[in-house]
């Protein structure tokens, strides 16, 4: 099966592919043979943002490290 890539870059995937991957995030990978579309590996999508909305942040971590250093000194 072939699909046309218009100037706008927007492509329409075949219906059966859309049905199979609906609402999933696909990763676009350029390979030697062409372009590969594959679902993002589940462990990555499950872990990313797991602490979003919690109190954990890089800012809190930096502050912790500064306090730790001050205690050591």
């Amino acid at each position: 099966m072939y699909i046309h890539v218009p100037e706008s870059g927007e492509i329409k995937l075949p219906d059966e592919i859309i049905k199979k991957f609906q609402d999933k995030e696909l990763e676009v990978i350029e390979t030697v043979e062409g372009v590969l579309l594959r679902p993002r590996p589940e462990p990555i999508s499950r872990a990313r943002g797991f602490l979003k909305g919690s109190k954990i942040s890089t800012e809190l971590y930096s502050k912790d490290k500064q306090d730790e250093k001050a205690k050591e000194e």
Binding site: A47, G49, I56, K65
Partner: protein, 138 residues
């Protein structure tokens, strides 16, 4: 540039909290899942995030975070061997840094890897020496 990376605590938190820079960590891990890049995380850095999550949230969340990170397409380094002790010891003495920072820096040095970090301020002095290659996520 080497295609080997070591993720530090700040980059791990940025990814888990989906902060600015999470995209870069995500892309590295995706490439690692295709065996295009090698990514390491030291268990000591997971410990730092575990401790923060336990303190600020709860044990269940901390445990689940640990489980999720352990399943990432990165090699989790479990041990501190003789070589790492000596390299981390040198780093700690030389740069006056925390134990976890010394271990992650020594790991990057021994693996000839780029250290993935969000923390430019803390590592500024070390990055200027050029002894460790840094991969800043923001």
């Amino acid at each position: 540039m080497s295609e080997v990376y070591v993720i530090d605590t700040s980059a791990l938190i940025a990814f888990l909290a989906d902060e600015e820079g999470a995209d870069k960590v995500d892309l590295l891990l995706s490439a690692a899942s295709r065996y295009e890049k090698k990514v390491y995380i030291h268990r000591l850095n997971i410990l730092e995030v575990y401790h923060l999550t336990l303190r600020e949230e709860n044990e269940k969340k901390a445990h689940l975070m640990h489980e999720l990170v352990s399943k990432l397409p990165a090699e989790i380094l479990e041990y501190i061997d003789e070589q790492l002790i000596e390299e981390a010891g040198r780093m700690k003495a030389h740069y006056n840094i925390s134990l976890a920072d010394a271990v992650v820096l020594a790991t990057a040095s021994l693996k000839h890897a780029q250290l993935v970090s969000a923390d430019r301020d803390r590592f500024e002095k070390i990055s200027k020496t050029g002894k460790i290659q840094f991969y800043w996520i923001r």
